[in-house]
């Protein structure tokens, strides 16, 4: 088989078939929509047309904002997951410190080396918690725009969640003395406090963005409804117009001469 040949598995074929069905269905729906509008161009009713256009363009601007809010939420979630991971690493480090207190010098040195390795892993984790290039755990800031002209915003401030950023020093003196271990534990406790408070700020910001995202979704729907109300046909009104036209035509010259000509033509034989 040549390299350019494409083989479709049975499953792919089924998917393709249903996609084709859906697109046929959409074409039909669009056809209905195309005939269901009262105002199709600026000539029909300029004020309704442009008002509806305004609504629709604002709705599409907001839809873009809504998408970027979704991205912001994901960025904040990535940071939050990073924080959770770092907290668990710090708790492991505290466990090392606790075992060091009862160990001899060799064990203490080994545990101190493990402690330093954990700090390395914290640095790695903090460095990897980025989403689309923004890493709130590496002091990046994230500005979320809520409205279409970008005047209402929220800035989520990042912080440095690496071991040095959290103020955790490397193990000193191979943890030979209890004082060395105590110093490490004090650093770890301070880091935990910092992380918990940053995590609270993060989740409160996340709540704000989620609320604004829902609000934006509702606003977009409202704008679409508003635009529809301005331009969509009112079948009741059109039906009434048609009945009125029917009555008016019965007395009109065009309709009368039309039926006269029909009577004179071969159509009268039917």
């Amino acid at each position: 088989m040549a390299l350019g040949d494409i083989t479709l598995s049975g499953g792919m074929r089924n998917t393709l078939n249903s996609l084709q069905l859906v697109s046929a269905l959409m074409a039909r729906t669009q056809e209905r929509l195309a005939t269901g509008k009262r105002v199709n161009s600026a000539i029909d009713d300029p004020s309704a047309y442009f008002a509806a256009q305004n609504h629709l363009s604002r709705a599409s601007d907001l839809a873009a904002r809504k998408a970027s809010m979704g991205e912001a939420i994901k960025t904040a979630e990535a940071a939050d997951q990073g924080v959770t991971g770092i907290i668990s690493l710090i708790e492991q480090a505290k466990g090392l410190a606790a075992s060091a207190r009862s160990g001899d010098a060799t064990e203490r040195a080994a545990l101190a080396a493990q402690f330093d390795e954990l700090m390395n892993q914290i640095d790695n984790l903090a460095g990897d918690a980025n989403y689309r290039g923004t890493n709130l755990l590496d002091s990046d800031n994230l500005t979320v725009e809520f409205n279409e002209d970008g005047t209402s915003t929220l800035t989520i401030t990042g912080f440095d969640a690496s071991s040095s950023g959290l103020g955790i020093a490397a193990a000193t003196g191979s943890w030979a003395t209890d004082a060395d271990v105590d110093a490490a534990v004090a650093d770890l406790d301070a880091a935990l406090t910092t992380l918990r408070s940053e995590s609270e700020t993060l989740s409160s910001n996340l709540g704000v963005v989620t609320t604004r995202q829902e609000f934006t979704a509702n606003l977009i729907a409202t704008l679409h409804e508003g635009a529809d109300a301005l331009t969509l046909a009112d079948p009741n009104e059109e039906g009434a117009n048609m009945l009125a036209l029917q009555t008016r035509q019965q007395l009109g010259i065009v309709a009368l001469s039309l039926s006269a000509q029909a009577q004179q033509s071969i159509l009268s034989l039917f």
Binding site: A34, T35, G36, K37, R38, V39, N40, D44, A233, P235, N236, E238, G239, A240, N241, M242, L243, A244, L245, Q246, Q249, V254, A255, S257, L258, S259, Q261, A262, Q263, S265, I266, L267, S268, L269, F270
Partner: protein
């Protein structure tokens, strides 16, 4: 290519300005050149025409079977389309299609679209009689 028509017993058709009626048996005829042909089932009798869109259909039929007075019929089609456009702007797309077909001399297609238009008109009018 010839157009093949099979006719039911006693079925009437319009064939190039003549009304042709079939006899007691089924018949099959071939029309070798291009002339206006309308089957009985497609013909809207002038007596059955009441609504604005049915009038459009009638005017198109006249344009099709009575080319001698094409100018008058064309004017009638245009005036009637205009009336409906004013009354029911949502039919604009269909009406434009009919006007295009009629102007280009594709009367059979125009009649076909006009049937869709009549269905749409019935839908609109049902909205009023239902409520």
């Amino acid at each position: 290519m010839a157009l093949r028509l099979s006719l039911r017993p006693h079925e009437k058709i319009i064939l190039a300005g003549a009304v042709v009626r079939n006899g007691d048996n089924r018949a099959e005829i071939f029309i070798e050149n291009e002339v206006p042909v309308m089957r009985e089932s497609d013909i809207l009798s002038p007596h059955a025409v009441h609504t604005p869109c049915e009038r459009i259909y009638l005017a198109l039929q006249l344009l099709y079977v009575d080319p001698a007075r094409a100018e008058e019929h064309r004017a009638a089609v245009a005036a009637l389309i205009d009336d409906v456009q004013q009354a029911a702007p949502s039919c604009r797309g269909l009406l434009a299609g009919i006007a295009d077909h009629a102007a280009a001399g594709r009367l059979y297609q125009a009649l076909k679209s006009a049937r869709t238009l009549i269905a749409r008109e019935r839908e609109l009018m049902n909205h009023v009689s239902d409520s």
